[in-house]
C-alpha cells in the first residue's frame, strides 16, 4: 500500500506541476534506513521521490530557511509543493499563522501515514550494523553482521510521537491535498491511545528535577541540531545566541553544563508558544537527550493556560505575541 501512496504522490505532483515550481520531498541516500530531504527543481526529478516508513525528517523546517538561504532556484516563479506527514503539516500551519511563510507560496500535500520509524532506534536494536532492511507487513527484516537476519516489529522503532497520536490530527485547513484515504486515516488515529502524559515536572521536587536536568543536559555538546531542525525556531542566523554584537552575552561561562541549561531554557522559552510537539529536536539530538520532557511540558501548558494548540489552524495567532486591549488576560 505504501508503494501505492508513493505512486500517487508522484502522479499528483506530475499533474499539478507548472514550470517554475519547486517541491520538497524525500529520497534515498547511501545508508539503508535513512531518507534524506530532496529538493525537486524540475519535473523529471519527480520520479526519484521516495515515501516510506523511514521518512522521519520533518520538511517543515525548510520553510523557515527562506529567511536566510537562497534555497529557491533562480527561475522559481510558481508554487512550492511540500510533502508532509500530518504531524509536519501542523508545523507548516504554525509557520503560516506565525507569518513566517506566505500561504500563497506553499502548496501543502499531506500524506496518509502509518507511523514512521526512526532509523537510529533500529540501528540500536541491531547493535550498530544493518546492511539491508526489508519491510514485511508490520515487521522489518534486517540483515545484520555476517548475514544474520533479525525481524524487528516496526512499532519498536516508531518515533515517539507516533505512538501517542497527539500529533496525528489533521489541521483545520482546507487548502491541502490529501494523498491516501482520509477516512481510513482518521479512523486509524482515533484508535490510537491519547495517553495522558505523565511528566517529571509533576512528580519531582524542584531539587530532584534540578538534578535530573543537570544530568541530562550535561551531556549536551551544544551542536545546535535541536535548534536548527526545529520548525518553530525560525530565527536562523538571527538567533539570540548568534549575535556577537548584542549587549548581553548569554552563553559565556566556561562551565558547559550550566551554559547548556540556559541554552535550553531560553530556547524553550522562545519556542513554547509555537512548539507543535513534533519531536524533531529529540530525534536530531546526537547525544540522545530526552528533550521531550521539556516540550511536552510546554505543549500541555499552552493548552491548559491558553487553550491553544499550536499548529491546529493556519490563522490562530499565538497568545503570547498578540494582545488586544480588553481581551481576557490568560
Amino acid at each position: 500500500m505504501k508503494k501505492q501512496i508513493e505512486k500517487n504522490i508522484k502522479s499528483l505532483l506530475h499533474s499539478i506541476w507548472k514550470s517554475g515550481d519547486m517541491a520538497i520531498s524525500w529520497t534515498k541516500t547511501s545508508i539503508p534506513g535513512k531518507r534524506t530531504p530532496f529538493f525537486i527543481k524540475n519535473k523529471n526529478q519527480i520520479d526519484q521521490l521516495v515515501f516510506d516508513t523511514f521518512c522521519a525528517v520533518s520538511l517543515a523546517t525548510y520553510l523557515t530557511e527562506f529567511n536566510r538561504k537562497e534555497i529557491l532556484p533562480e527561475d522559481f516563479k510558481g508554487k512550492l509543493h511540500i510533502t508532509c506527514k500530518p504531524c509536519d503539516a501542523r508545523s507548516v500551519m504554525q509557520l503560516f499563522s506565525d507569518m513566517q511563510v506566505s500561504e500563497e507560496l506553499v502548496n501543502l500535500i499531506v500524506i496518509q501515514c502509518d507511523g514512521i520509524a526512526d532509523e537510529s532506534k533500529l540501528t540500536k536494536i541491531m547493535s550498530g550494523y544493518v546492511s539491508n532492511i526489508e519491510e514485511e507487513n508490520d515487521r522489518f527484516i534486517c540483515k545484520g553482521i555476517g548475514g544474520t537476519e533479525k525481524s524487528v516489529p516496526i512499532r519498536d522503532c516508531w518515533l515517539d510521537k507516533c505512538s501517542d497520536g497527539k500529533n496525528c490530527d489533521l489541521p483545520y485547513y482546507y487548502g491541502y491535498y490529501f494523498v491516501g484515504n482520509e477516512t481510513e486515516y482518521r479512523k486509524r488515529i482515533s484508535n490510537l491511545l491519547h495517553t495522558k502524559t505523565d511528566l517529571v515536572q509533576d512528580t519531582m521536587s524542584p531539587k530532584e528535577l534540578k538534578k535530573l536536568v543537570n544530568k541530562e543536559l550535561s551531556s549536551c555538546i551544544r551542536c545546535n541540531a535541536c535548534r536548527n531542525v526545529c520548525p518553530a525556531c525560525f530565527c536562523s542566523d538571527r538567533c539570540v545566541f548568534e549575535q556577537p554584537k548584542v549587549n548581553v552575552k548569554y552563553l559565556d561561562s566556561e562551565d558547559a553544563s550550566k551554559n547548556n541549561i540556559l541554552y535550553h531554557m531560553i530556547r524553550f522559552n522562545h519556542v513554547a508558544p509555537n512548539c507543535t510537539g513534533c519531536g524533531e529536536c529529540e530525534r536530531a539530538c546526537p547525544m540522545s537527550i530526552p528533550l521531550s520532557m521539556f516540550y511536552k511540558y510546554f505543549n500541555r501548558l499552552m493548552w491548559e493556560e491558553f487553550e491553544y494548540k499550536p499548529g491546529k489552524t493556519n490563522s490562530e495567532r499565538q497568545k503570547l505575541l498578540s494582545y488586544h486591549l480588553g481581551e481576557d488576560l490568560v
Binding site: F39, Y129, S131
Partner: protein, 346 residues
C-alpha cells in the same frame, strides 16, 4: 612485545591500572549508547561496532580553561596557567580513532604548539582495539585505513576468542605491560594471525567502498562544481557532524569572569557549519552561505589537509553520517566528487 590477556583477567588489569591513572573505556550508557567514560572494571564493552561518540573529548576537551586570572584589591593581576597533569589510560580505541588522535597530535604540534593538548597526550596511554565489526556507516577502507591499524596506539589489543592478543607498540606501552606482567601471559607463535583474520572478516562487512586515495590531490577540482548545492540545500547547518567528528579540531577562545575579580580565558569547540564562525567584526562574512560552509567541511577533510600535511583528515569512521539529522552522507558526497573528478579527467 607480544602477550596474551585472558578475558577474565581484564577486570583485574583495569583495577591495577586504576591505581595511578584514570581508566577510560567504552561502556553502555543508560541511553543504550556506547560511550567512552571513566570505568571501574566490569562494565567495559570491547566488542561490537565502534561507539557513536569518539574519545576525542578526553584529548581535546569540549571546553577548558587555559588560564585563570585574579585581580587583587591593590590592582595587581595574577595569571595562572591551567596545567593538568592527570594521567589517563584510554582503552578500546578503534583504529579509526587512533588515526584521528595521531592526526590531532600532528596538527597541534605544527608551527604553533598547543601545549595543553600535547601535555594531555603525553599523559595518556592509548590502548587500541582491532575492529571486529564495522558499523553501518563505516568506510575506513576507502581512505586506505584498515580495521586493524596500530598507528597511534601505545598498546594494541585484538579479540582472539578466549583471550586478547596484546601487542606493545611504543615504549610507553611496553613499559605498561612490563609493569603488569603477572597479569599477562606469553603469546604463542601464531597469535598474530588473529589480526589478519579480523581484518578479513571486518573488511568484508564494510558496506561502502570507494577509492578515495585515488582522489588524493584531485578533490579540489570539484570546488566549483554544482554538487555542493544538492547537499547544502538540505543541510540545516547544525554542528552535529563536526562536533562528533574525531578529527575536527576547531576551537574558539573567550574570556569570562567568575566574579568581580576572578575569571578565566577558556576555549570551546567551534564549528565551521555555524554562521558566526567566520563572521568578521565589520559584519562581513566570507563564508556566509550554507553551500560554502558545507564545502569547507568536505574540502578541509579531503584536500586542504592533504595540501598542508599530506594526509586526509577523515578517518572514515562515518560518525558524521550517523549523527546528521537530515541524513547527509559523506559517502554520497564522495561518490559525487569522484564522478566530477572522473569526468574532468576524460
Amino acid at each position: 612485545m607480544r602477550k596474551r590477556l585472558q578475558k577474565q583477567k581484564l577486570s583485574s588489569l583495569i583495577k591495577k591500572l586504576k591505581e595511578d591513572a584514570t581508566v577510560i573505556a567504552p561502556v553502555m550508557t543508560d541511553k543504550n549508547e556506547v560511550d567512552f567514560l571513566p570505568v571501574n572494571s566490569e562494565e567495559v564493552i570491547l566488542s561490537g561496532a565502534r561507539s557513536l561518540y569518539s574519545p576525542k573529548k578526553y584529548i581535546f576537551k569540549q571546553s577548558e580553561s587555559m588560564y585563570d586570572y585574579t585581580i587583587q584589591d591593590s590592582g595587581k593581576v595574577t595569571v595562572k596557567e591551567s596545567c593538568e597533569n592527570e594521567k589517563q589510560i584510554i582503552m578500546g580505541i578503534r583504529p579509526c580513532d587512533l588515526h584521528a588522535i595521531e592526526y590531532m597530535k600532528e596538527f597541534y604540534s605544527g608551527k604553533y604548539k598547543d601545549s595543553y593538548i600535547l601535555r594531555r597526550l603525553e599523559n595518556s596511554v592509548l590502548i587500541g582495539l582491532a575492529c571486529t565489526e564495522p558499523s553501518t556507516n563505516c568506510f575506513c577502507t576507502s581512505l586506505g585505513n584498515s580495521p586493524v591499524d596500530t598507528d597511534g596506539s601505545d598498546i594494541m589489543m585484538a579479540d582472539a576468542g578466549s583471550f586478547y592478543f596484546v601487542k606493545g607498540i611504543t615504549e610507553k606501552g611496553k613499559k605498561l605491560i612490563e609493569n603488569n606482567k603477572d597479569i599477562f601471559e606469553d603469546s604463542q607463535e601464531d597469535d598474530e594471525r588473529v589480526l589478519s583474520d579480523i581484518k578479513e572478516s571486518c573488511e568484508k562487512a564494510i558496506l561502502e567502498k570507494i577509492d578515495v586515495t585515488a582522489l588524493k590531490n584531485k578533490v579540489g577540482s570539484a570546488y566549483n562544481s554544482d554538487i555542493w548545492k544538492k547537499y547544502s540545500d538540505i543541510c540545516v547547518n547544525c554542528g552535529a557532524c563536526t562536533f562528533n567528528c574525531p578529527t575536527c579540531t576547531c576551537f574558539d577562545v573567550a574570556d569570562t569572569s567568575r566574579s568581580k575579580n576572578e575569571g578565566c580565558h577558556y576555549r570551546t569547540w567551534d564549528t565551521c557549519q555555524n554562521f558566526a564562525f567566520t563572521l568578521h567584526a565589520s559584519g562581513h562574512n566570507p563564508r556566509s552561505t550554507s553551500e560554502e560552509r558545507l564545502r569547507q567541511r568536505v574540502m578541509h577533510k579531503y584536500q586542504y589537509t592533504v595540501d598542508q600535511m599530506d594526509q586526509f583528515s577523515c578517518t572514515g569512521c562515518g560518525r558524521c553520517t550517523q549523527v546528521c539529522p537530515v541524513g547527509i552522507s559523506m559517502i554520497a558526497i564522495l561518490k559525487d566528487i569522484k564522478e566530477v573528478v572522473d569526468n574532468g579527467e576524460e
